[in-house]
């Protein structure tokens, strides 16, 4: 279970998260929607431990463990995964080597045996097939020269292989064509189960037709200003944010 209480965070003296409360129980998928610049990506970065943010107040725990006190790789080993809004290119780092190093780092941290090259390849091929990804993607450098949609698919592939207990998907749907959207949504739905929870950040109600959330939250000005069921996304689509924000103020 992800539990965030009264989280305040700033970057370069600019306050971005301003008393954010959020609970995602294990096994549930929650969506976060909100206007540009509201702080959605900032939340995902603060949770996953990117440098440069200063948490001035509040807590964030995953299954009772303090996330904010540990290094990003330790958070990943606990089961946290972030699908980046803008996946990073790694020239000179082969995708297969990257994926296997990541899987084995987490397996080591959890006291599991490491995968050899062949075992890895078998697993990767299965997941890539589900995502309609060409095997050749393994030989290429991580995200280098990938199209926008290919980068997003590569994020979902990482999620499928790393099997997190909490996945944060930051606009994984943007830049995807209609078929890809369905494939990626199927990829997320395949992970759903009693031990998996997700925080899906999106601007589009359409994604939530495929990944039906248990709860929808509206993030504005650094806090959750309203929460509801899937119908809240439809309301936002119809009325826009202004009305919701005004009503909450």
């Amino acid at each position: 279970m992800l539990e965030i209480k009264n989280l305040h965070a700033k970057i370069d003296e600019k306050v971005i998260l301003n008393g954010l409360d959020l609970v995602v129980p294990t096994g549930e998928v929650h969506a976060i929607m909100g206007p540009n610049g509201a702080g959605k990506s900032t939340l995902s970065y603060v949770l996953s431990g990117r440098a440069g943010y200063q948490v001035t107040e509040g807590t964030a725990t995953l299954d009772g463990q303090d996330l904010l006190a540990i290094a990003p790789n330790e958070r990943a080993a606990l089961g946290l995964f972030l699908a980046f809004q803008y996946p990073v290119e790694l020239p000179g780092v082969g995708n297969a080597n990257f994926l296997r190093t990541a899987m084995n780092a987490q397996r080591r941290a959890r006291g599991e045996t490491e995968l050899d090259a062949l075992q890895f390849l078998k697993l990767a091929r299965v997941e890539m097939k589900k995502l309609s990804m060409d095997d050749a993607m393994l030989k290429r450098n991580v995200n280098v020269g990938f199209s926008g949609g290919e980068k997003k698919r590569n994020e979902v592939l990482q999620m499928a292989l790393l099997k997190p207990s909490l996945a944060i998907l930051d606009e994984t749907d943007s830049g995807l064509d209609i078929d890809a959207l369905r494939i990626v949504a199927d990829g997320v739905n395949a992970q759903r189960g009693p031990n998996f929870s997700a925080l899906v950040i999106t601007h589009y109600q359409r994604l939530l037709d495929y990944i039906v959330p248990d709860r929808v939250h509206v993030l504005a000005s650094g806090r959750i200003i309203r929460s509801g069921g899937p119908e809240l996304a439809l309301e936002l689509e119809r009325d826009g944010y202004a009305q919701v924000i005004a009503a909450a103020a």
Binding site: S48, G49, R50, A51, A71, P72, N73, R75, A76, A77, F81, L82, F84, P87, V88, L90, P91, G92, V93, F98, T101, A102, A105, Q106, A109, N141, Q158, L162
Partner: protein
């Protein structure tokens, strides 16, 4: 730098009647050295590299009983060599060891000590070598012979408080259409000076692949001068990997003397602590349609210093020259420093020459991306450093038979170097 030469001149005075070859040539080199001294930073070509630390050491002769030394007394050295059943020419403290060597089947291999011959080389370190050279390898590949892969190994043992200097004189000649792949490995322990000079001739249509792994002791001095002359359609494909030495410099002078010749002078340096590594090149395009390619990568940790000086000279009439040079440095610490000096001197028309240089640190976003996948910071850093080096390492073209072993060997040496410099 008179002080620095004094100890070498004294050695020459003591040794000269025992040295092989034409004494007059050595006396001339000696006279020139007395006049010029060792280079100082006042010289443009030595602007970034000071030989002062050399002046503080008095070098003794190589141990006289070296030829009797049992290889069993060289623990560790042989584990530093690739696990390949290849011909090998082994030098210990600068002297050829026939008992440790395995000759190649093709080509002629000789010893400078037995057939001393000097090329006319006039650089200050060439002169030092000419004055004191005792041994070296002579490799001659006849026309149209493919000699395969040969290892050239230089071992220096720890002489414990009695630093030695050795000045091997190597001559490598490929006849027209000949081929040779030479992999050099220089390793050692303790303080010493390794001052090799190479005279390289690549005949028309010949191909010389020259891989140099400089992995000397971290207290050693490595000052190498290479002179290569290429015929028409000849290829000189060299790669220098500089990991060792307290002070190391490799200076390569290449003359493209026939049409359609091609020279690759690629390099990577990986330095930490107070190491100083200098890669200096001069390519002289003297004929039409020749190419030169240089990708030089420097990874600098601690307060290490990297130097790259790359000069491209295109003579009048050397039209259709195609020169490319790229030097990049990754600074892993605020105290590390890179000095880079490209120089283009072009007297021909219709020439394509480009050069570029970048200096930067590891990318924070890339580091975070790796860490967010569960990879610890140290591993993430080493992955990105490897990625940075990958472009240079991919330039090495090796014979398929030994390629994978040699690449694995280089990887392992790089990994060890990473451990030594605390990325």
């Amino acid at each position: 730098m008179q002080a620095a030469t004094a100890s070498f001149l004294a050695r020459f005075a003591g040794l000269k009647f025992r040295l092989p070859g034409d004494l007059a040539v050595r006396e001339a080199a000696c006279a020139q050295l007395i006049q010029d001294g060792l280079p100082t930073r006042a010289l443009e070509a030595w602007k970034y590299t000071s030989l002062k630390p050399l002046a503080e050491i008095t070098f003794a002769e190589a141990l006289s009983d070296v030829s009797a030394l049992d290889p069993a007394h060289l623990p560790g050295f042989f584990s530093l060599l690739p696990d390949l059943d290849l011909p090998r020419l082994v030098f210990l403290d600068g002297r050829y060891r026939a008992d440790l060597s395995v000759l190649p089947e093709a080509g002629r291999v000789g010893q400078f000590a037995l057939q001393p011959r000097f090329g006319a080389r006039v650089g200050p370190l060439d002169l030092l070598n000419t004055m004191l050279a005792e041994d070296g390898v002579l490799i001659e590949i006849p026309a149209d012979v493919d000699a395969g892969t040969v290892l050239l190994i230089s071992l220096a043992q720890d002489t414990k408080g009695r630093p030695i200097a050795f000045h091997p004189r190597h001559r490598i000649t490929l006849g027209d259409g000949a081929r040779l792949e030479l992999m050099e490995i220089a390793v050692g322990q303790g303080v010493y000076l390794h001052n090799p000079v190479y005279d390289i001739n690549v005949g028309d249509g010949a191909q010389f692949t020259h891989l140099r792994l400089q992995d000397e002791s971290r207290q050693a001095f490595h000052l190498a001068s290479l002179h290569a002359t290429l015929g028409a359609r000849a290829i000189y494909d060299s790669f220098t990997l500089g990991l060792g030495g307290a002070l190391a410099r490799a200076e390569m002078q290449v003359v493209l003397g026939g049409e359609f010749g091609m020279a690759h002078l690629n390099a990577a340096q990986l330095l930490g602590g107070t190491q100083h590594g200098d890669f200096t090149t001069c390519v002289r395009h003297q004929a039409k349609h020749c190419g030169s390619r240089q990708t030089v990568k420097n990874v600098l940790a601690g307060s290490s210093r990297g130097v790259f000086q790359g000069r491209i000279e295109v003579a009048r009439g050397a039209d259709k020259t195609d020169g490319f040079q790229m030097n990049q440095a990754l600074l892993l610490s605020p105290d590390a420093e890179m000095d880079s000096k490209p120089e283009l001197q072009i007297f021909a028309d219709d020439v394509k020459c480009s050069h570029g240089a970048t200096v930067g640190a590891l990318d924070e976003d890339q580091l975070f991306y790796l860490q967010s996948r569960g990879i610890d910071l140290a591993t993430a850093r080493s992955m990105l450093v490897r990625a940075f080096l990958a472009e240079a390492l991919s330039q090495i073209t090796l014979a398929p038979a030994s390629e994978s072993v040699i690449r694995a060997f280089l990887d392992a040496r790089i990994e060890t170097a990473f451990g030594g410099i605390a990325l």
